[in-house]
Structures are given as C-alpha cells and as structure tokens.
C-alpha cells in the first residue's frame, strides 16, 4: 500500500514488519523481459471488514495493496514476497474527501493528484496539498495514496509532516474494532507503525483549525524540489490578535520517523511572527534532527544546514497565510 517519494529506498527495506524477504541477489534481475514477481493470489474484498478478515486469515503471508507504487517496486526487486495481495484500491468506502464538524475527513485511498487539486485543501490545510504536489511526477501521483504514504511509514513520507502539523487523528480498524490514534503516536520506526496485525487505516481526520490559521510545507528535493526528499519541514501557525497562540513544526527525513519539534513550537508561543523567532526555531529543528549517516539523500551535516532554512521558509509562509485569515471551517 504505497505511495511515495522514495523508490530507491527499496534497498533498505526493513522486513521486520512481517514480510518474508529473499537474498538480495536472487531476484530482481533486469532482463529484456523485466523483473518477474513471484506468483501470488490477488484477493478482491468487497468491504473493509472483508479485507481485514482476509488479512487476519493470511497474516504475514499477505499485504494490503493500494496504489502499489512502493509494493510493486519492492516485489520486483525481490525485497518483498507475499502469497496474497489484498486489493484496497477499489474500495469506494476508503476514497473520499469531505468536510466534517469544521474539520476535514480524508479517506486513505485519496490519491495525491486529488489531494493536490482539491479545493478543500487550498485553505488552512494547504501544506498537505503542497506535500502531495511535491510527490514525484504525475504518473505516480495518479496511483499513490495518502494512506499508503502514511501506513508504509518510510522516513521520507512527504504527507507525514503536514499531518503532524495539523494534529491529524488516524482512525484504525481491526478485527477487534476501531481505535483512534493521534498521528504523533503512529510512527514507531522506519517502516513500523502502531498498526496491529490485520489493522487498517480507514480515515484521516483533520480537526477544525479556527480562523487565522495557516500552514506550509517546504521541501528540499533533488530535482526542482520534486520527488525524492532530502529534507522536509511542515509548519502551522494560529494567530490571535497578531500573536502566535498555537504552533506546530514537523520535520521529515531528518530522524528515524517524521516528528514534531516541540522545543521549536513552544519557543514561538506568545510571540508575534518575526524573522528572529523563526530563525531560532530553525536552529532548534536542526538541533533536534537525528539524520542517518550514509543516506543517499544527503549527509547529516547537509541536512542540518538546510533544515533551518526550510523551517524559516515554512514558518514565514504559514504566518503570512494565517494573517490573511485563510483558516476557518472547511
């Protein structure tokens, strides 16, 4: 179930979430016929509950598949083998974008192309549209889903920082029923989330923002800030009488999981938006970063250099948008 900004990560796929793997050299040879994927059964559930029951029955021998932009690549490279793929991409019950209680409900199967264009995401939640827009190219944005991006939990998942900046709530459904988890508690490690066996992400809920709320997503990519992310920052600010009353700053590809930087957020509280405060917040983000050495995306030193600039930019944009009063109800 995958979307994403990071195809070449396949080489570092962590199999610990229950997938059988093969030795790296035994598969994925590119020949004229292309990489062949080991055969599997393709299961087509009619409902979310049926999909969950299928996953429960087949356990680690199965995976859910939505857009397939990560899973298909992994399977071709021989990094992932399954006996069953359970198709989610045609479950209409998981594909929606709708206002609810002043907030917004996003179905996990919403594709990035829809999120990028939706009028519902041009106001307070613009950072999410910006993140989806930045995810690779048109061909991938038409397949990849926001739910896949989150549930696959690559450290570079571009939609994660904005969702962290919105205090998104994730509704998970499993064999035992439903539970709701704040996104700040969802990511555990690269490719690991709090999703239990046979549990599925069924809804992403963005709470009401109030007025004078603005957000922004800033990314350093390798090609015109499109595709593979080197570092990302999402910020949201809520203003009252010109003062910051709520701040969120979240970074991606800068630590084992996407995460908020609470020190930077609390520093901003009570201040009027100003460049010095944003610069200091950027410094705190760089200090909180724990980038992995040996990444093809950029060295830890480089990431620490660019994170302050991304933070300042994201906060500056968020402040400008908040001041324009773009917040409010969906």
């Amino acid at each position: 179930m995958l979307a994403g900004a990071a195809r070449r990560r396949a080489g570092r796929f962590d199999p610990s979430n229950g997938c059988e793997t093969m030795p790296q050299d035994s598969r994925g040879q590119r020949g004229t016929g292309g990489a062949k994927v080991r055969p599997f059964d393709y299961l087509i559930p009619d409902s979310v509950d049926e999909a969950i029951a299928m996953r429960l029955e087949h356990g680690d021998r199965s995976r859910f598949i939505a857009g397939g932009t990560e899973l298909v690549v992994l399977m071709k490279a021989g990094k992932l083998q399954v006996d069953y793929l359970i198709e989610l991409s045609r479950l209409a019950a998981l594909r929606f974008l709708r206002p609810a209680d002043g907030g917004l409900c996003i179905g996990p199967l919403a594709i990035h192309a829809e999120i990028e264009r939706s009028p519902l995401l041009q106001g307070p939640w613009l950072a999410l549209a910006e993140a989806s827009a930045s995810i690779r190219e048109q061909q991938v944005k038409n397949l990849g889903t926001v739910g896949g991006n989150i549930a696959f939990a690559v450290p570079s998942a571009d939609t994660a920082p904005p969702l962290l900046a919105f205090d998104a709530l994730l509704r998970l459904r499993g064999p035992a029923g439903e539970r709701t988890v704040p996104i700040s508690e969802f990511f555990i490690a690269p490719y690991r989330t709090t999703l239990g066996p046979a549990e599925m992400l069924v809804e992403i809920r963005l709470p009401e923002t109030g007025t004078h709320f603005g957000s922004a997503f800033c990314k350093l990519g390798r090609h015109h800030n499109l595709g593979l992310s080197v570092a990302t920052v999402a910020a949201s600010l809520k203003l009252e009488a010109g003062e910051i009353v709520q701040a969120r700053v979240a970074m991606g590809v800068a630590a084992p999981t996407p995460r908020r930087v609470l020190e930077a957020e609390s520093l901003l509280l009570g201040q009027k938006p100003n460049p010095a405060a944003f610069r200091e917040a950027g410094r705190l983000v760089a200090r909180a970063a724990a980038p992995r050495a040996g990444s093809i995306r950029g060295s830890p030193e480089y990431k620490r250099e660019v994170l302050p600039a991304l933070t300042e930019r994201a906060l500056g944009l968020a402040a400008m948008r908040a001041a324009r009063g773009e917040g409010g109800r969906a």
Binding site: A35, G68, T69, V72, R136, Q138, Q139, L143
Partner: protein, 156 residues
C-alpha cells in the same frame, strides 16, 4: 485470473497472471509494443499510458487493478489514420530523436491538454517531468506541446 478492460476503445478479455503488470500485458499479450519498457520501476515514464484518462506508469500497475477500466496507449492516439495534433506537432518541431520517450511524452501531454487547454510552458515542463528524454529534446518537446495546444484550440 480473468479480467476484462478496454484498450484503445476495444474491450479485451484475457487471462492474466496476478503478478504481471499492465506493461507486460500490453506488450506481451496484446502486442502493443508502442508502450516502452524502460526502467521498470516508475522512474523513467517510458511506459506511461492513460488509465481512465490519467497518466500512470504501467510498470507499477498490476494487471488485475485495471479490470473494467479504460486504457489508452500510443496506438490509440491517432484517429482514422490521421495523427493526433500532438503527434503532428512533435513531427513538425523535430521533438523526436530516438523516439523511446515519445509515447510517454505524448500521452502525458494529452492528459494535460484535456485538463488544461492553455497550459504555461512551466506547467508543461512540470507535467512532463516524469518522462525522461535522453536525447535532450526537451526544448522541442515543450515547443511542440505549446503549439499543439494552439492547434487544438483553433480546430473546429
């Protein structure tokens, strides 16, 4: 498994292995080799087809996922033996050298013009960013798409 889907306006019904991609089915089962097999990992865009009108990488799309949907490949772009205005513009502007990227470029450009008949050059470049040309013909390709947009608007 047995699937049916529409390719270039014609309903096809065939048995596919679930693990085969749309790209393999098009090229190897249906003989539609205008869709090119490049990187096989969603990087190069040579395998781009339109799925329900939107460009996707056919190398990332599993065959079972296209059941009951509509696929347009490069073979379906010309109508009644007449080149589509985009194809004619590519010829006129010398936007083809080796031609390997052309299918993906043309189909992605078609999806763009269907959605936005008057794109800016930068919009064209952004849409075509997922399709790589190794002969360095991007300038002519963008010229051709801009010209085709004008021709399509002037067409009756």
């Amino acid at each position: 498994m047995r699937i049916s889907f529409t390719v270039n306006g014609r309903l096809r019904e065939l048995d596919v292995r679930p693990e085969s991609t749309l790209l393999e089915v098009l090229r190897e089962e249906l003989g539609l080799t205008g869709t090119k097999h490049g990187c096989d990992s969603g990087e190069c865009g040579a395998c781009t087809v339109l799925l329900d009108g939107e460009p996707v990488n056919s190398c990332l799309t599993l065959a079972p996922a296209v059941r009951d949907r509509e696929v347009l490949t490069i073979e379906g772009l010309a109508e009644d033996g007449r080149l589509h205005p985009l194809q004619q513009a590519f010829v006129d502007h010398g936007a083809l050298q080796c031609g390997f990227c052309a299918s993906g470029m043309l189909l992605t450009a078609k999806a763009l013009l269907d959605r936005n008949p008057s794109p800016t050059r930068s919009e064209v470049r952004r849409w075509l960013a997922g399709t790589l040309c190794r002969c360095s013909g991007y300038v002519q390709i963008v010229d051709a798409v801009m010209d085709a947009a004008n021709r399509l608007k002037e067409a009756p």
